[in-house]
Symmetry: C2
Subunit: 325 residues, 2 copies
Amino acid sequence: MQSELRKQLLDAFTNAGESYLSGQRLAELVGCSRTAVWKHIEELRKEGFELEAVRKKGYRIVKTPEKLTADEIMLGLTTCFIGKNIHYEESVESTQKIAHQLAAKNVPEGTVVIADEQRSGRGRMNRNWHSPKYTGIWMSLILRPNIPLSKAPQLTLLTAVAIVQAIEEITGITAEIKWPNDVLIQGRKITGILTELQAEADRIHSIIIGIGINVNQKKEDFPRELQEKASSLLIEKGTPVSRAEMIRSIFKHFEKLYLLYLDKGFFPIKLLWESYAISIGKILKARTLTEVIEGKALGITEEGVLKIEDASGTIHHVYSADIEL
Amino acid sequence: MQSELRKQLLDAFTNAGESYLSGQRLAELVGCSRTAVWKHIEELRKEGFELEAVRKKGYRIVKTPEKLTADEIMLGLTTCFIGKNIHYEESVESTQKIAHQLAAKNVPEGTVVIADEQRSGRGRMNRNWHSPKYTGIWMSLILRPNIPLSKAPQLTLLTAVAIVQAIEEITGITAEIKWPNDVLIQGRKITGILTELQAEADRIHSIIIGIGINVNQKKEDFPRELQEKASSLLIEKGTPVSRAEMIRSIFKHFEKLYLLYLDKGFFPIKLLWESYAISIGKILKARTLTEVIEGKALGITEEGVLKIEDASGTIHHVYSADIEL
């Protein structure tokens, strides 16, 4: 199917919501014959869309395919630039890798790479990220903010806030943030965020935010060593969650927060972040590459750096670490 | 020629300095027959090395080829890790591009990409950098310091100091630094530095320092629009300069400064930098992406950020700008 016609057709169904659209009306809206509309609807069915057809009323979409498609995500997307340009792939090595290549080619800000499976998904510090097919959200978002390098960690924190808000909207569950880049429910990891840069020493070319969210995995779908540490929205909520709906919600919350950030700076984001953070005010251990710092987490600085006060009263600024509560 | 034998042979000539080495001695040093030595010496001659052969004394190298080779640079290199792994190419699009690819493959720290020509060399802000064949030094150095992102600009400043010291050693000329990344002689640009990063928000994977030095260009070799702004070591000194010697000197000074930096931090580098900087204490205009700041340059911060005091007494912190004196 020509992508422009398909897009127009899906847009028409989005705008119609629960209402039915007749073949005649669809033909008018997309500017082609009723026969062409009928042919396109058959193609959508082949791709896994379920369309209900009611005599004298017309068509409406009742179920979108299990496989994510850019179209399905676009269907009902309300953002201005985040997620307006989607590169979908069924299976990739890593969405970050593709996003890095696209970023170097100057794709528009807000472009997203989404895959149904990552064969070698990565987390922070080059760790593996388990990304099995059809069950999670594995995506990378390309941004081009005009901010100094030192502020890049703020965008990890902003992303965590957007994800907590999206989880709340879609599932009603209140998640928590563990500095710097984890989103947890009941102490188990639901989401990891990996923020990478293409930059000159004094200028950011692109920030590439990798987001991995466990959505519809059952407990037994996780490797044994992750079963106690990780969870999914399905496990926590008890019912499956639409990945497309979740993605749209993340895009919406992210765009709102990002525009706020570009306009007002990090301060309003910091307040939101602190309201969701579990580590602040608690005694914890921070393992950096070179040392272990134990003490009370006082909060984060304007630049997103964690402040820890040790037993001697010394305040440490921690840029990068693993946290144990 | 097998690269290991060639390396051993060139090492032997390096160690011998001005002395002659007999065929017998060379055969012993590299562990092969005199016939093999003779064959290898013929191959070096074909590649442009000039070897003097004196009866009863032996051989010594009197001239290295115009074309740079990794071997020639290695010949006499005194560093421990900077430049010990050289990727030489006769002609490339950009040494930065190749260095980025190598950096992603975890080559050792200190690996350098050197080309005799760049077909589309780049400077800051994606500007062109004119890099004609055989006349300049076009190279990219891969580093992996464990420093926060905000400190990356310090390495641009450190590199500028190393280049000023190398120019002084090789030509006797005292060059000057213009913040952030230019080295000038008599107000004309000799060197540009482009520092790029591969990083996570809280951790640097690699810093890739691109260095372009105009060495043996004549005035008429520069495009007309650059003739008043740019110069070369040949123009300033009056005689040609060995690029290999200049590269070795940069590696030597760079390594010394870099080890000092990793050990003692930026402060000793900052003092050196300020002693060579022309802009400090002067009235200047800084054009950033969003505004023009006019005022007196007070100095640089611990992080390499330029401080400018405007007429109203307000102090501006400039992360990235073009400077007009």
